[in-house]
Symmetry: none
């Protein structure tokens, strides 16, 4: 069963907005077990809209069209649909009443164009649009199921949830249940993970395994089908066990868990409070923690000691240490972590000092980073890294690495 | 001249990410005078990728493909391209060297898959990828110009700017010169701006005026064409004058300028150094400043005093003040700004205290925000706001408002 999403609207082709409708529909359809095979975007031109409908009808079983149902002359989905489906349109009385009532209520004059928004194809199953003007429509034409929805995201989503999804579930009597889990790994690259899981990724069909790299992390999506949700869940659990046997050292959580929320959970479990001293990362590390609801229970705050002067004055880094070793040094990172622990009265202190670039600093090249850790009464630790990339990436990678180091300390 | 953008990647069809690459490319191509006629998204499947290439070749003159150039078995753009173009691939030596150097420098083992990333089509014009592994490629095949780019947005954008756009300008000897300028406004809403510029937006054709709202700001893109660049620039300059006559109070800069870089420039002009004390914003304000190259000249650093304890201990906010007024108060914001100025030895100090939500705090509802300002020996100022939205939006809006307040102080 092949599903395709067509978005109609020149604003998408001018890049004024991103096609987030296709993204949202794709997520919901994948969850439903009717995966989307392609997206298309076409501008407000009758021939091209009709052409894209014609092509879609050749290759897809379910075609979901968004946009082009508004009141203006540029809204051509109805006209193109009429051509391709060979069906005239007529006024849909309940929609027309809704539109008239809206204009009356808001003391606005209704133009003739607004009537157009109530037009539906003959024989269409009409979905009332409680959020706006133009109704949704579903039409079966030969083997193809057509769905027409307004382009306004709020209206589109409401019609999908209340009308389209229940219709598709009934029509395709979707029996198999789909369950998926996204496993998150840190400290291992995408190609390393793939190499270690090569055989599973290539040969497994239920569950399937799909790796997805993002900045400093790798995700692995397991997707299983079964006759019941429990059966699908059991398949996921079994495969997760096999995967974690191989690469479990790098696994930190699943689905909505992030490395920040995982660190928050571990801090809370240990009853630890966290503080940080940050130089070139500018406070990004502690800001990530504070962005989480409930942060105040585990997070005291941080010092953004960007200049040497502030490291001395606020963080009590001795002048001689900076003169002797510089601020971008093992020694400075260690002292930053130590002093943060005592000054902020925290159990776990993390420090960052380094060169974000683009220029070198203190004779150290861009990407040179020292991260210090001081946890309870353990000995302080300092790790040195050489990160690639521009200013933002170096900062981003250092922050992520800080979470990784803290995670490894706290998980044991 | 019809341009088409094809994005390859199942992650797009699962809805894991939105197709922001197509959006960005469409914007740039529209500016270039080579408007995009359609977008397509296809999954990681050889037949379907090849099928979408075949269809594109039938209808488009310029085809820009993003994604599917990575090292994994799912990366099929090279294989599909080879089939459709009828051209074998070969290793591109400079790219291979770059990849090898990366692995050597990072002490990582290079897998065989990684070699694949250096493969290019025979006869392709190769664009060095300074931001990543796989190079960009341009191939002329009959009447069609093919462009292949990595899917990582940063890499794609760099290759477009440095290689693809100059190539297209040369090849299609784009005659009319296009010049555009994006004017940035802060402190005025999109609909207010539109109302004030209504007549110009509706009737102007050269330059055109296109408003674009983003979080807490509004942009207005002026785009003019002329026989020469100078002619187009003169049209922009004249229209800019007309626009600023009407809404110049809210204008802070153009094009790549941001409110942060504008504040940095103004601080530098005054010879001021900046510091901040932040509670619920978590250090986001000062982090934005430090993310700019050259920040150390104007930015001392900041204190993320998230808890009441830290406000007392590090920022010397008296216990009685907190007991009497609470931490989310006019009084606390004022004292935070004052003490930041003296503790950090800065000319300009900004403080943030408030409730990000989701819960109320100290009897104040989510969105309640106090921003304090202490500049040189002027009297301290505190502004109270009630922001709408969730935790992230309240934090984001407060930070933006802090820059707006500072901008208005510094510009006079």
């Amino acid at each position: 069963m092949r599903t395709e999403v067509i978005a109609v609207g020149t604003e998408l082709l001018l890049g004024q907005i991103a096609n987030t409708n296709a993204q949202w529909i794709s997520q919901r359809m994948a969850e439903l077990g009717l995966p989307v095979y392609s997206h298309a975007v076409v501008g407000d031109n009758l021939d091209r809209v009709a052409g894209s409908f014609r092509e879609a009808a050749r290759r897809s079983d379910i075609i979901i069209v968004t946009g082009g149902l508004g009141p203006t002359e540029d809204d051509l989905t109805r006209d193109a649909g009429s051509m391709i489906l060979g069906k005239p349109v007529h006024e849909h009385a309940p929609s027309m009443e809704r539109i008239e009532a809206y204009y009356k209520k808001n003391n606005k004059t209704m133009s003739l164009n607004n009537r157009k928004q109530s037009h539906v194809f003959d024989g269409a199953f009409v979905l009332d649009n409680k959020e706006g003007m133009a109704p949704g429509q579903i039409i079966q034409q030969g083997e193809v199921t057509w769905v027409f929805l307004p382009g306004v995201p709020r209206e589109m989503k409401a019609l999908m949830e209340s009308g389209v999804i229940p219709f598709l579930q009934r029509s395709f009597s979707l029996q198999s249940e789909i369950v998926s889990e996204m496993l998150h790994f840190i400290g291992i690259g995408e190609s390393d993970l793939e190499t270690q899981l090569q055989a599973l990724i290539s040969h497994q069909t239920n569950p399937t395994l799909a790796p997805l790299a993002s900045e400093g992390e790798v995700g692995l999506r397991l997707t299983a089908t079964g006759e019941t949700t429990d059966e699908a869940k059991a398949k996921i659990a079994e495969m997760k066990r096999v995967v974690l046997d191989k690469v479990g050292d790098f696994y930190y959580g699943s689905d909505d868990e992030t490395i920040e929320s995982t660190v928050q959970r571990l801090l809370s479990r240990h009853g630890y409070r966290l503080g940080a001293a940050e130089s070139f990362t500018g406070g990004k590390f502690i800001e990530r923690m504070i962005s989480l609801p409930g942060a105040s229970a585990v997070c005291q705050g941080g010092l953004t000691t960007y200049t040497a002067e502030m490291k001395e004055q606020v963080l009590d880094i001795p002048k001689y240490l900076i003169r002797e070793y510089g601020t971008i040094s093992h020694e400075c990172a260690e002292m930053m972590a130590l002093n943060t622990q005592s000054l902020l009265h925290v159990d776990a202190a993390v420090s960052f000092t380094g060169v974000a670039g683009p220029d070198s600093s203190e004779g150290k090249e861009p990407g040179t980073v020292f991260i210090g850790l001081q946890i309870r009464d353990k000995s302080p630790e300092v790790h040195r890294f050489q990160f690639q990339g521009g200013r933002d990436q170096v900062r981003e990678r250092a922050v992520k690495k800080g979470f990784e180091l803290l995670f490894h300390h706290l998980k044991d």
